[in-house]
Every structure is written in structure tokens, then in C-alpha cells.
């Protein structure tokens, strides 16, 4: 565990971006998330860790209402984004998802050109007033996703032709092109090799300047490397949530300690 750089962590702000209270999620009969309370801070990387099937991805998908697309899924409790309940009737999930972007486990570029992939969100939300405007958004997003140098000469080529790591960075560029306030990442590096993983992790750290990032990961090293806050999920419960250094070095709950030392999971 040498690469656990458990140095002092600077949390950018104490401002709460997302406040979840008493969240329960059911898939049909099964109770996937049990009474979870969590405050996700602005301009901070928050990591969700825990064994497979513990509900961390499910909870992540609650934050942009992607669970709505699953037929028998039911969410109760309150999740507030900047004080506004996102499960309120008046909230359009489509607009919410423009505010809360998401990057998936497996890179999923559309079968379109690199340019069209990044321009997809801005186009459907009408963010660009002109072609030049759109070009600028695309370039900016690709630069922030550290893909511009590799992609600038092949913007018209299919995004599916990129390598796995490049595809994932393309998906990140696509997600940040709509300038969301929160970026959700569901195991974004699990399909990538170590070099691509390092690039994406570096990127996540840079994204923190502008977004609140929530990342689900199976790798505790990764959680320790990139996050300032860590939440440990186990069997649908939020067991422990706190400052990353504290969770890894001095866990309060015995279950957290067992997990991070490799005894359960």
C-alpha cells in the first residue's frame, strides 16, 4: 500500500452540493439501498467504495435519476441538489442529467465521429449559438479531458476507433461538454490499463477545480489517490463516510477496517 498518498487533503470547500437523506432503493422486492444519508461537497472528489453488490453504483445512479430507466426500480427519501429535491415532480430528469453528468464503467462512445460525440450534449441542449461556438466547446472539452492532442487531427473519425483509454477520455469530454455541476463516474477505470488509468486519475484531480466529482471504484488505492472524501458501502448500508485519510488510516467502524485490510469483500 505504498502508493496510498495519505497526505493532508485539501477539501476545496465545505459547501454541500448534494444532500441525501433517508434514501431507500428497491428493485422489485429486493431492498438495495437502506436509509442512506450523505452530504456530497462541492469541488471535491468523493469516492464510493465497497464490495460488489453493496449498492454503491445503485446509489450513484440515484443522483442523476438514471434508475428511472429501470422498470421495477423505486426510490424513496430525499436527494437535494443545491437545495432542490431532484425527485420532486417539478424536476425534469432530462434537465437534471444535463446538470449531473455521468461516465460509465465501460467506455460507450456513440458510433459517430469524435467531434459529434462531444458535440452531442451541447447540441441537444442548445448550448452553442454558432458553429464556431460549438467548435470551441468541443475543443475546450477535449482539452480538459486531455484528449485534444491525440484527437485534434482526426475529429471526423469514428470515436469507436480510439483505444480503450482514449474512448474513456472521450466519454469524459462528452460528459463535461454540457458543463455539468456534478460528474458521476461509475468505475471509470475498470476497463483500462494502468497507463490509461493514471491519465484518467490525473484528469479527475483536475476536474475537481470546476466540478463536484463522485467516483465509484473497486480499487481502494484509486479511492485513496484521487478522493478527498470516501464513503464505504456494505450490503446496502452506508457504513462510514468521512475524510479519505481518516477512513483509510483510522476507520471508526470495524467493517470498514475489515474491508480496507482485505478481510471482507
Amino acid at each position: 500500500m505504498e502508493d496510498l498518498r495519505l497526505t493532508e487533503r485539501l477539501v476545496g470547500t465545505d459547501e454541500v452540493k448534494i444532500q441525501a437523506r433517508g434514501v431507500n432503493v428497491y428493485y422489485g422486492e429486493s431492498h438495495a439501498i437502506k436509509d442512506v444519508d450523505v452530504d456530497i461537497l462541492d469541488k471535491t472528489v468523493t469516492a464510493f467504495i465497497g464490495p460488489s453488490g453493496c449498492g454503491k453504483s445503485t446509489f450513484l445512479r440515484c443522483l442523476n435519476r438514471m434508475n428511472d430507466t429501470i422498470d421495477n426500480c423505486r426510490v424513496t427519501g430525499s436527494i437535494r441538489l443545491d437545495g432542490q429535491d431532484i425527485y420532486d415532480r417539478s424536476v425534469d430528469p432530462v434537465q437534471l442529467r444535463a446538470q449531473v453528468g455521468m461516465v460509465f464503467q465501460k467506455p460507450n462512445p456513440f458510433p459517430k465521429s469524435i467531434y459529434d460525440n462531444v458535440a452531442y450534449g451541447p447540441r441537444i441542449h442548445g448550448l452553442a449559438r454558432s458553429k464556431a461556438d460549438l467548435d470551441e466547446i468541443v475543443e475546450k472539452s477535449l482539452r480538459r479531458a486531455a484528449l485534444w492532442n491525440e484527437a485534434k487531427d482526426r475529429l471526423d473519425q469514428p470515436g469507436t476507433g480510439l483505444s480503450g483509454g482514449q474512448q474513456q477520455r472521450l466519454c469524459i469530454a462528452r460528459a463535461i461538454a454540457t458543463s455539468p455541476e456534478v460528474l458521476l463516474m461509475d468505475e471509470p477505470c475498470s476497463a483500462l490499463d494502468p497507463i490509461a488509468t493514471a491519465q484518467v486519475e490525473e484528469l479527475i484531480d483536475e476536474l475537481r477545480a470546476n466540478f463536484s466529482v463522485v467516483i465509484v471504484t473497486h480499487s481502494m488505492q484509486q479511492a485513496a489517490r484521487v478522493s478527498q472524501r470516501t464513503a464505504f458501502f456494505h450490503l446496502g448500508n452506508l457504513v462510514e463516510y468521512g475524510e479519505t485519510g481518516q477512513v483509510f488510516t483510522n476507520p471508526r467502524d470495524p467493517r470498514t477496517e475489515s474491508y480496507i485490510t482485505g478481510r471482507i469483500g
Binding site: T69, K106, P111, I124, T160, A175
Partner: protein, 458 residues
């Protein structure tokens, strides 16, 4: 006798299997290490007996008739066939055959009775010879197969090779049959083009094929220009597609993306039932419901509409094609990875935008392939147009006019009097040939489009 030969072969096959398996098993019991399991030794022997003997029986049955017939005709008394044409000789042969089968008409000449008797005798001899041959061959093969049983003999490889051969044979049966069909089409079409110049057929704008077959028939002078006929096919196909493609596509999009699960559970099976309706029933519907309704509607507006309109036939054909296009589209949409859908939704796209910009483009190869196959079906569809389209070939693209199609003309040409040295009958084959070429072209195009887009999207 043939049945007996088959029974014999079956018994020999079973015996070969049992013998070799038992022999191999006893080797194994004595502590020998066999390369193949005992059942493979048995199977090897069974196939070694079965395949060659089966082939011999088939060939025997294939050639027995012609050979015996040649022998009988060759043994007729001198002079009775002198000066007779080919057709008359084959008539005599047929008469002898029917006498041999016990159907005697009038009082045949004594030499015919004699020939019939010889035919019966030869057939009996042939049957006996077949059984003897099968028995002898089986015994020899049984013996040869039995000698192969040895620890190091690779019976499993032998079985696998023979089974592979059988698989290859089965997969090429369809191909060779198709080749045979095409060859016969080409032959008959060639006969036709000897009577009617190919340029007249391809570029003529007049189609009046009802010419006399016998000298005393009263009929038209005849004209064999296929353009009005293929134009009719094109008109009906275009109408059918213009109606069925949008309906099929939209119903698939609805079912795939927007319908609730209960809705889907009802609508999908109903669409599939629609696909199973016999086309003759669609034909009734076109003739008895759609066509009169169209006429009545036309009368309201003072437009004269003929009873057999292209519109009626085409729109009913469209109903037939809807489930076809819908299920192809649905499959193509369902095959788009869920990750793409989620990716689009997570960017804040609505379901409609996701469908239009991500799912539909990714599904295009499958959809285009399905539509082109539907075109092939529309062009080749016979029953609906036979019932609902007209018989007179008119050069028109007016959907309210009566048109005829290639398939309708093939049917009418082959109904009633036929004679294979007359252009009227042979024209059917020329039309069939052209139909085959057109649908083949469309299918090749469909495959190419599918492949091209697939390269683009994967």
C-alpha cells in the same frame, strides 16, 4: 424388394455397430489402452457399412427405370418403331408401362403385351439383384470394418471425418438444388428467346401473351414486351413499401422504446400473428373489402376507380409486410448495446432524441437489410396480386388503375393449356428468370449495405 433392401441395410448397420463396439470393449477389458472409445469403433463400422450401401441403393433406384426401359424398347420386334417420331416412341413406352401396371385400354398389339411382360420380368430381376448386391456389399464391408478394430486405430477421427462429410453434403444440398432450378429456368428461357427476340422481350411495351396454342384456337396475335408487366410490379411494390415502411418502423420504435411492458406483451404477439396469416386470406381482404371501399370512396369524389386497382393490392400487401419490417427493426434496435442508450440518456437526452440520434443510426444496417428483404418479398408475392390486381398489362403508374404483375402473368400463362414449344407457355419462364435476377440483385444489394454500415458502426 426395395423395402427389403433397406431393412437389410439397417440390420447390417446395427450389426456392424454392435460387433465393433463389443470387439473394442473386449480389447479394453483385456487391459489394452484404446485410442478411441468403444462406441466410436462401433459408430465407425456402422458408418462404413451405411454410407456406401445407401449410395448404391440410391443410384440403383435412380438408374433402374431408364435402363429397364431401354432394354424393353431395344427388344421390340424389328420394324414396329420405324418412321416414328420421338414423341410417339415415348408414347409407346408409356403405354407398355401402363399395361405392365395392369391398365389395359382397348386391345393392344401382341408385341406390346409381350414387351409389358418382359418389363415385369426385368423389374423383378432387378429387385432381386438389388437385394443380393446389398447383402454381398454389406457382408464385405462388415468384414472390412471388423478388421480395423485395434488399440491404436483412430476410430474417433474416422467418425468425425465422415460426420463432417455428411454435414457438408447437407449444407450444399440447398445450393445445388438452387443451381438446378436456375439451370432449368435458363434452359426454358433460352427456348423462349429462340422464338421471341430478347430485345422485343426486354424493351417491348406491349404484353398480350394469349396466343393460340392449337391451330383451331381463337386468340390474340401476341406481343411479349415485359415492360408494362414489370412496371405493374414496381407500382405495387412502391405502394406496399410506402405504406408499410413508415408504419413498420414507427411501430417498432414505439414497441422498443416507449411502450409499457404490458402494451408490448400484447402488441408484439399480435404483430407476429399477422405475419402468420396466409397470403390468400389477405387476397380475400383486398378483393372483398379494400377494393370495394376504394371504389365507393372514389365514387364519392367522382373519380372512376377500376375494380382491380394497384392501390388495393399494394396496400393489402403493405399490411402483410408490416410485421416483417417491424420485427426486423425491433431486433435491430434491441441489438444496440444498452450502454449507448444509457450514455445518451445520462447526457440529458430525452428518449426521443436518444432514439433519433443514437439508437436508430446504430440500427440502420439491420433496418435497411429488413426493408430490402421486404422488397424482395413484395416483388415475389403472388397470391394477393393474383386475387386483387388485374390481368391486363397497361403502361401506367397511376395507382388507381388496374395493373398486372410479373407473378400474376406467370400464373395465368401456366394455367390451362400449356405446351412447351409455344412462346405463351415459355414466356412464363422468361418472366420467372427476370424475377429471379431482380430479387437476386436486391438481396445482394441488401447484404452489401448491411456489411458497409456494419464496418462503420462497430
Amino acid at each position: 424388394m426395395t423395402l427389403f433392401a433397406f431393412a437389410l441395410l439397417f440390420a447390417a448397420t446395427v450389426a456392424a455397430y454392435m460387433l465393433n463396439r463389443a470387439a473394442a470393449a473386449s480389447l479394453a477389458r483385456r487391459g489394452e489402452r484404446l485410442h478411441s472409445l468403444a462406441t466410436f469403433h462401433g459408430g465407425f463400422a456402422a458408418l462404413v457399412v451405411l454410407l456406401p450401401v445407401f449410395l448404391v441403393i440410391l443410384l440403383w433406384l435412380l438408374f433402374q427405370g431408364p435402363v429397364i426401359s431401354a432394354l424393353v424398347m431395344g427388344g421390340l420386334p424389328e420394324g414396329v418403331l420405324d418412321g416414328l417420331g420421338k414423341g410417339e416412341v415415348s408414347l409407346i413406352a408409356a403405354e407398355i408401362q401402363s399395361i405392365a401396371a395392369g391398365q389395359v385400354f382397348g386391345t393392344p398389339e401382341p408385341w406390346k403385351l409381350e414387351a409389358a411382360e418382359r418389363l415385369v420380368r426385368l423389374r423383378a430381376t432387378s429387385g432381386t439383384l438389388l437385394v443380393v448386391t446389398v447383402a454381398a456389399l454389406s457382408v464385405v464391408l462388415l468384414f472390412l470394418a471388423r478388421r480395423t478394430v485395434a488399440p491404436e486405430f483412430r476410430a474417433r477421427h474416422g467418425v468425425e471425418r465422415m460426420v463432417l462429410g455428411i454435414l457438408v453434403f447437407c449444407s450444399t444440398v440447398a445450393i445445388f438444388t438452387t443451381v438446378g432450378i436456375v439451370l432449368s429456368l435458363i434452359y426454358e428461357s433460352w427456348q423462349f428467346f429462340r422464338l421471341v427476340p430478347i430485345t422485343e422481350f426486354l424493351f417491348g411495351t406491349n404484353w398480350e401473351p394469349q396466343i393460340p396454342i392449337r391451330a383451331d384456337q381463337i386468340a390474340g396475335a401476341g406481343a411479349f414486351g415485359w415492360l408494362p408487366v414489370i412496371l405493374g410490379t414496381v407500382v405495387i411494390t412502391v405502394i406496399a413499401l410506402a405504406v408499410s415502411v413508415p408504419i413498420g418502423l414507427f411501430s417498432a420504435i414505439y414497441l422498443n422504446e416507449f411502450a409499457s411492458r404490458r402494451m408490448r406483451a400484447v402488441v408484439k404477439p399480435v404483430l407476429e400473428i399477422l405475419a402468420g396469416v396466409p397470403t390468400v386470406v389477405y387476397g380475400f381482404f383486398a378483393v372483398l373489402t379494400v377494393a370495394p371501399a376504394l371504389r365507393a370512396a372514389g365514387a364519392e369524389f367522382g373519380i372512376p376507380i377500376s375494380p382491380n386497382t394497384a392501390l388495393a393490392a399494394g396496400s393489402v400487401m403493405a399490411i402483410m409486410l408490416i410485421p416483417f419490417i417491424s420485427s426486423f427493426t425491433d431486433d435491430a434496435l434491441a441489438a444496440v448495446p444498452r450502454a449507448l442508450r444509457d450514455g445518451s440518456l445520462a447526457l440529458g437526452a430525452t428518449r426521443g432524441e436518444t432514439m433519433l440520434k443514437v439508437l436508430f443510426p446504430a440500427a440502420i444496417p439491420g433496418i435497411v437489410g429488413g426493408i430490402l428483404l421486404a422488397v424482395s418479398r413484395a416483388i415475389g408475392e403472388t397470391m394477393i396480386v393474383v386475387m386483387a390486381a388485374g390481368l391486363i398489362a397497361t403502361m401506367t403508374i397511376n395507382p388507381l388503375d388496374s395493373v398486372t404483375t410479373v407473378t400474376v402473368q406467370i400464373v395465368t400463362l401456366l394455367i390451362g393449356d400449356t405446351s412447351f414449344d409455344n412462346p405463351k407457355t415459355l414466356a412464363a419462364f422468361a418472366l420467372g428468370m427476370m424475377l429471379f435476377i431482380v430479387t437476386l440483385g436486391i438481396n445482394i444489394l441488401a447484404l452489401r449495405i448491411v456489411r458497409k454500415y456494419r464496418e462503420l458502426y462497430d
